[in-house]
């Protein structure tokens, strides 16, 4: 028989891991996806980023590569370099092609699956220090103590999660043994971070530097082999990533350079910053755990053996490092620091579990047969307590999605689509889902029309476009231009409806009744004047096409 006999302990541990994966996926995806893996329209899309990343995955799937960006995202320019971290888009496009699923499903599915396996790597890092502490940590990794922890999943900070996956893997790498040739593993992980989300690459390299410093302090010398392996892996990583990092440098880093500035609240969720108190009651466990960790690090004898800190002191240092980088918003890392805080439940799980661990130790119940049921009960209690932190299945509905599909399938590629007030305008990047250049009505001008009960001949509007890298294009590998600086862009920045547009879209549901009635009035007037004809309509959206003589 080839199968070896696994100890009962290993089997129980595996069962708890399976239970954790089921609960993690159920909480973060199953419940909000109506317990289905495929959908007729995007589920649990709540913000711009959800739509945007999903759209780029679709673009890569259709085009087959990411040498340029979709023209309809960049105001019609077809030469905009593919500069956003490409890893997620390629992976979700690949799964979409193989499984025959839509990219709006696979993009989130890939993200969540990678996140759960990265959480398991942190589990194994803790397990190397102490098996029982790892089992007690696992339930806290579900990470649903409050809404801010759900934001990366619900609001589509998916490329950040990709970076975080590789950051967690680097933590795993540094706490694991380092056999010969394991520099290859580190090189791949760092490259993954570079192609996943560059800020986590910077945090990962910082962690490696901290690792070398800590090893030096503990052993009073630097292990030559350790240093050599890290240098070799950095060289390999540099070779693998140079091309994309060059693009990244001339786009994001040039337009949004690092500055020593203070950010008080995250721009992606100003009302939902993660702080220690976001953990609710769990924060007391966390603070106690932090105290135990610090004492165990600095104390000489008993406390060190308490959590077997001699074995892997670096894990605790890494955890403290993670807390510190969460506060680098005060030295210029801004939104990136706030993003890291959202995965504290996974990274700080060992601290959260530590008071329970020490409590069990003091009452002499720190045995596997007690730890296992406690871990299972914690998993179930935490999951059931916080199961409904974020309710709902997102902002999209089938009717609106059908309108997007109709536009993408039935209009000319260079069509200009003018969106009057409607559901998708709430998160304007969702308009890219039409695969056409979107323009949106000026809310001020629109509200002015509503208030004056007047149907105007002209409504001001603006193009919806992604400008975070100034719509860059490359002249050569180190020479970039920016369409944002050109007159051509300025010309199309503001438009009106005087037959300048090819299609007009109006919302008829899920928005304020006043807006619905006003939209209906505009539609009636346009039809009466014979300036446009209805080409698509359902209960949520009506689309008019300009009649050109």
């Amino acid at each position: 028989m080839l199968l070896p006999k696994y100890s009962r302990r290993r089997i129980v541990e595996a069962a708890i891991i399976v239970l954790f994966v089921i609960i993690f996926l159920s909480v973060h995806v199953g419940r909000v996806w109506d317990y289905k893996i495929e959908h007729e329209y995007p589920y649990y899309f709540n913000a711009n980023d959800n739509f945007f990343h999903s759209e780029l995955s679709y673009y890569v799937k259709e085009k087959g590569n990411y040498d340029t960006s979709p023209y309809y995202v960049f105001g019609g320019y077809t030469d905009v370099e593919g500069y956003l971290p490409p890893l997620l888009y390629h992976l979700s496009a690949g799964v979409s092609l193989l499984a025959g699923m839509e990219t709006y499903d696979t993009t989130y599915m890939v993200t969540i699956m990678l996140t759960v396996f990265a959480a398991l790597l942190i589990f194994f890092s803790i397990r190397r220090v102490n098996e029982k502490l790892a089992l007690l940590s696992l339930p806290f990794m579900i990470g649903i103590f409050a809404m801010p922890f759900e934001i990366p999943y619900a609001w589509g900070l998916w490329i950040f999660l990709m970076g975080a996956v590789f950051f967690m893997s680097v933590v795993w790498y540094l706490t694991a043994e380092k056999p010969k040739y394991s520099f290859l593993i580190l090189a791949v992980l760092l490259s993954g971070a570079a192609f996943g989300h560059a800020s986590e690459l910077i945090f990962s390299i910082g962690l490696i530097a901290v690792y070398l410093v800590i090893i030096y302090f503990i052993t009073k010398k630097l292990d030559q082999q350790d240093v050599r392996m890290i240098i070799i892996s950095l060289i390999i990583f540099g070779v693998i990533s140079a091309y994309y990092l060059l693009i990244f440098y001339f786009t994001y880093m040039t337009i949004q350079p690092f500055t020593l500035s203070v950010m008080e609240a995250p721009v992606f969720a100003p009302n939902f910053p993660v702080n220690m108190d976001t953990f609710g009651y769990i924060q007391y466990l966390l603070i106690l755990g932090l105290l135990v960790a610090i004492i165990s690090l600095v104390s000489k004898d008993e406390m060190k053996s308490l959590i077997n800190v001699e074995k892997t002191p670096f894990l605790l240092i890494a955890i403290i490092y993670v807390i510190l980088i969460g506060f680098t918003n005060y030295i210029g890392f801004g939104v990136r620091a706030f993003q890291m805080r959202t995965i504290w439940p996974i990274l700080l799980a060992a601290l959260t579990a530590m008071p329970i661990y020490t409590g069990l130790l003091f009452v002499k119940m720190l045995r596997f047969r007690y730890v296992v049921p406690i871990s299972v009960v914690l998993l179930l209690v935490l999951a059931s307590t916080y199961y409904n932190v974020h309710a709902g299945t997102g902002m999209m509905d089938k009717e609106t999605w059908d309108a997007f599909k109709w536009i993408g399938n039935n209009t000319e590629k260079n069509s200009k689509i003018f969106w009057f007030y409607s559901l998708p305008m709430v998160q304007e990047f969702s308009l890219f889902s039409s695969k056409r250049i979107p323009f949106k009505v000026s809310i001020d001008d629109y509200v002015d029309g509503v208030n004056s009960h007047a149907i105007k001949n002209t409504y001001n509007g603006s193009i919806v476009v992604l400008t975070d890298a100034k719509i860059q294009f490359s002249r050569s590998i180190t020479n970039y231009g920016y369409h944002m600086d050109e007159d051509l862009f300025k010309k199309i920045e503001v438009q009106n409806t005087n037959s300048a547009m090819d299609y007009y879209v109006f919302g008829l549901a899920k928005i304020d009744d006043v807006a619905i009635n006003y939209n209906k009035l505009i539609v009636s007037k346009m039809l009466e004047s014979n300036s446009a004809s209805v080409v698509f309509s359902n209960s949520a959206i009506v689309i008019l096409k300009t009649n050109r003589s």
Partner: protein, 136 residues
């Protein structure tokens, strides 16, 4: 560690069924065929490419599985990106790359095993000098 890989192949098959069961529970309203399609794609893209590479480490199966998921993600994403820039459509590279990565890893592993295999001297096994750094 001699029979580790063949044993792990059994576990790999078991893990596929486990993943299928997990996803079936999480997506209870879904058709089993859709879950099967996703699970198969997941294995092809996120497990197969780097699984053999993880034999650099002496770790248990679940840990090996977890790190191979992350490593495969990096290898596949980067590979598809560069091949795409070279004109290979992603629909081909997603099929091709797992075979390339796993074949290459297997080849390197076999060569390393041959290099470090104990040599028979007068009927007795003599370990190679660097045996303690075995890939297994």
């Amino acid at each position: 560690m001699k029979n580790k890989l063949p044993t792990d192949l059994y576990y790999l098959a078991g893990s596929f069924i486990t993943l299928l069961v997990i996803l079936r529970i999480v997506f209870i309203n879904e058709d089993l065929f859709a879950i099967l399609k996703f699970s198969s794609s997941f294995f092809w893209i996120f497990v197969i490419p780097a699984f053999i590479m993880t034999y650099l480490y002496k770790i248990n199966f679940i840990e090996r599985f977890a790190i191979s998921v992350v490593l495969s993600a990096a290898l596949m994403g980067i590979g598809m990106y560069y091949l795409g820039l070279m004109g290979v459509h992603i629909k081909y590279s997603v099929m091709l790359l797992p075979i390339v990565y796993s074949s290459f890893s297997a080849l390197v592993m076999v060569l390393y095993r041959v290099k470090t295999a104990p040599k028979k001297v007068m009927g007795l096994s003599v370990p190679a000098p660097n045996q303690q750094r075995s890939l297994a």
